[in-house]
Amino acid sequence: MIGYTCKYTPVELLSAFGGEPVLLNREAADFTRAEELTHNHFCCHAKAVLEECGREGVRELVLVNCCDSIRRCYDVLRDRGELDFLFLLDLPHHDDGCARARLAAELKRLAAEYGACRGAKFDAAAFRAAFTPRSPLPVGPFLAVTGARAGESLLAALRRASPIPVEDFTCGGNRFVPPPEGLGEEPDGLLDWYAGALLGQIPCLRMDAVGRREELLAHPNLKGLVYHTVKFCDYYAFEYENLRKTTALPLLKVETDFTPLSAGQLSTRLEAFLEGMNLRAAPASAGRRGKYVAGIDSGSTTTNVVVLDLAGNVAASAIVRTGPKASQGAEKAFAALDGLSPADMAAIVATGYGRSNIPFATGQVTEITCHARGAHRLYPQARAIVDIGGQDSKVICLDGEGNVTNFVMNDKCAAGTGRFLELMARTLELEMDEMAAIGLSWEQELTISSMCTVFAESEVVSLIADNHSAADIVHGLNQSVAGKTAALASRAGAKGPYMMTGGVARNRGVVKALEERLGAPLWIAPDPDLCGALGAALFALDSLDSPAGP
């Protein structure tokens, strides 16, 4: 086999010399080898290519000069000298006549080198036979993943989660080169034509003229887009930003680092996206009898439960530490309700990270949808919710009916989350309550500029060593969290009125800093941690009337 990664790779030409081209597209469990050869701040897709080459024993490889990272993959592999055949095809950025001539010359260079390596001659019949017809799109509604290359397990996860087909519109899946027609057998003539055909594909973002990418999305059955970006690949974040402003299609951004997925966060986002498109059924009740319903929000730090009577009034609520297991956290939460148990509930909807691990739950809804529902009940004017929890922070935009219109979550990094503040409080030897209060009485403005939690911690240590007061440092930290969160709000296109939920809403210092950043007040419920559980309980109540119910 001969490995390749880019859709501009002349796979038909490789077949004409007897090669068996295989797309390298697997995520890597870790990047040990790749980072030994390159650097940790390096495109994760490119690192996965280096790992795959080593893991799969690839002996022949054609790379395309697509980007800085793939060019460096070529450099380090060439330096190692372990492959039988390695070629870098220099793809022009333009697609005009001069660029076609340059690419044709590159194809001829490849033909000469690969032919010599294999001891084979150009086989025009094999060349023609290697062209494959365009894969047909589904006849019914479908979703598409677009943006940066999606790895095999990401595609599989998307397809598992979606009730309708998911098409791969990234450069791993949208390759189509039409077969030659009316040309002779002579290789030079065929390759001159072939250069134009390769450049005539729908461009990737690396090309100079990218207007034709709009064609990708012009299909009436396309119902929504999952937009994928890869950590340390910058190309596609730029297109996403444009698309976010212009497309009418439901759009979900997913960033991965090309490793087996951060399953919890990805599934939350996907399910919330599908819920927003009404592609998931409402949770069914378990058919139990009871005078109450419950919503249980199993978060990384706390588990929160809200019980409603059948008229929708709050009958009880509790907040407990989750502990090491989501199921035990849920049991503790019910135990804290003074006399009410899961058996008293006609329906229990679970939400939050641990929602799949609550054995007595009768349904699950993501925390995105539950927060919106709860927020709409508590503060119907809200059009944006800022939720800062222990493990993640998110901004959810909603319409006048409480439906989610958009949401953005932080990436894997803990900066800007409750966990970040907890870590910093520990460094400052403060309790969380003290930290919340002390940040309001600052005197000197300090900037904590590090975006990384670990770096920020060392910055805080330096500030302590420089004798800055805890109040000033906490104020700097509050500003840092507010800055990150305001950026999320901006990315989500959030407009007020704002409501804030999650445990960090109790921290007056953060709230004040964030209000200043947003230039608008944040409405906060008396129990800001309970919003998600309340939304889940309302869904549980709905399920009693649902046709899918008991």
Binding site: L37, F42, D90, H93, D234, M451, S458, S462
Partner: protein, 424 residues
């Protein structure tokens, strides 16, 4: 850290950006013009007069980018600018503006503005600040945008987005990987088309004589810079840590201008006057230098025991320009740059420079977000060390302290200097 007065100014400017971008622009414009005046009238005593002269010229160029809209050409660092100098159109180098903003302590607001507009946090900070500067309305709309695909992907992304944002004409020069003659012809053809583009969008006619004169100045500048290197190879110069960035400016966007030629001529005269003899540790610096980082300045600024003798950004190629073949000559400069093509070429160039300048070791600065630099780090380090030059791969950021672990960088650099001391 900048001085308290500069910090105060930076904070004041930052506060204007959201509501009064025009006011922020005027403040920066005035501040940079004042730097130009200061460098002419009361230059710092410990800096070579040639450096002060170039500092003044760059400050004025930065001010042009913040002056009246519709006048300057926005260019990237590797774009050959002789055509612009021949037509008397000021090139504005946004990466340079990012350095200046850092020196004015006003960069953070632009980093945040860019990230709020969806620019990824892993993106090159120079480009991120530039996008923030433009999209907050602080940077003046240029006449047009010109860029090469060299040296990195960010050029493609930033300049395309800027041209769209400003709604101004845009021209990209595609630079192939190989330095072969067909690549030279391909690029030369595009540079001719760029000449037509500039004329069409300015209504000015390019005189072949003016272009030839600009190329002759380029040639004299490169010759002068070669002489300076010969002199520097045998002398010690206690210099500002970031001085080499001024030379980068002279041999890239300013190449072909009278200011760049005067700079290298003065540099040669002033360095020739220094006593012969090398002393202290001599570092070759690879890639950009962090303007903001006082902790590194403490180790490298105006020191008697250590100096940065050269940077591969200045010395990516020193081919002599040929005034009789301007387009081919500019094209050859691009394709043969050590920032173009494979990492092995960059490594070979680094080894050659280290030998030429009698370096004791090299610092390979992995600027945050620069994948082509980080991806080549181990390869270049390996080649330099094989050639006998100990090399430190130093992770940092040229203009955003937010991506940096300052204390760790200092420890690494200090340990490396100790290692070199032991090796001497």
């Amino acid at each position: 850290m900048p001085s308290p007065a500069i910090e105060k100014l930076g904070r004041f400017i930052s506060r204007q950006v959201g509501e009064h971008p025009e006011r922020a622009r005027r403040l920066l414009h005035t501040a940079y013009n004042l730097v130009g005046v200061q460098m002419r009238l009361i230059p710092p005593k410990n800096v070579l007069p040639a450096r002060c002269m170039m500092q003044g010229a760059t400050a004025r160029s930065m001010a042009a980018g913040l002056g009246k809209p519709g006048r300057a050409a926005c260019v990237n660092i590797f774009l050959p600018c002789e055509l612009l100098h021949a037509l008397d159109i000021p090139p504005v180098l946004p990466e340079g503006l990012s350095c200046y903003l850092v020196s004015t302590a006003a960069e953070r607001v632009f980093v945040e503005a860019a990230e709020e507009r969806g620019v990824p946090d892993s993106y090159c900070s120079y480009h991120k600040i530039l996008l923030g500067l433009a999209e907050t309305g602080v940077m003046a709309k240029p006449r047009f945008v010109l860029n090469t695909s060299l040296a990195c992907d960010a050029n493609q992304l930033t300049f395309r987005r800027l041209a769209r944002f400003w709604d101004v004409p845009h021209f990209t020069v595609d630079v192939p990987f190989s330095p072969a003659e067909d690549s030279v012809a391909y690029v030369a053809e595009q540079l001719r088309a760029m000449g037509d583009f500039i004329q069409a969008h300015t209504g000015r006619t390019l005189s072949e004589d003016a272009l030839r004169a600009a190329m002759a100045r380029s040639r004299a500048t490169v010759e002068g810079y070669r002489r300076y290197l010969e002199l520097r190879a045998e002398r010690h110069l206690s210099d500002e840590m970031t001085s080499e960035m001024l030379s980068v400016f002279a041999v890239h966007p300013m190449l072909g201008s009278q200011a760049a030629l005067e700079y290298v001529e003065r540099l040669c005269t002033q360095v020739a006057a220094l006593p012969e003899g090398r002393r202290g540790k001599r570092l070759l610096w690879l890639h950009t230098l962090p303007h903001w980082q006082d902790s590194l300045r403490a180790l490298l600024n105006f020191r008697e025991d250590v100096e940065i003798v050269g940077s591969d950004m200045t010395l990516d190629t020193d081919l002599l320009p040929d005034p009789e073949h301007p387009y081919e000559s500019m094209a050859r400069r691009l394709v043969s740059s050590s920032f173009n093509g494979g990492a092995a070429r960059r490594a070979e160039r680094a080894v050659e420079l280290a030998r030429r300048l009698h370096a004791d070791g090299a610092v390979y600065f992995c600027h945050w977000g620069c994948k082509q630099t980080s991806g080549a780090a181990q390869l270049v380090k390996g080649r330099l060390e094989e050639a006998g030059f100990p090399t430190l791969v130093l992770d940092g950021d040229g203009c955003d302290s937010g991506n940096v672990n300052d204390g760790q960088m200092v420890t690494r650099l200090q340990a490396f200097l100790e290692l070199l001391e032991g090796a001497k």
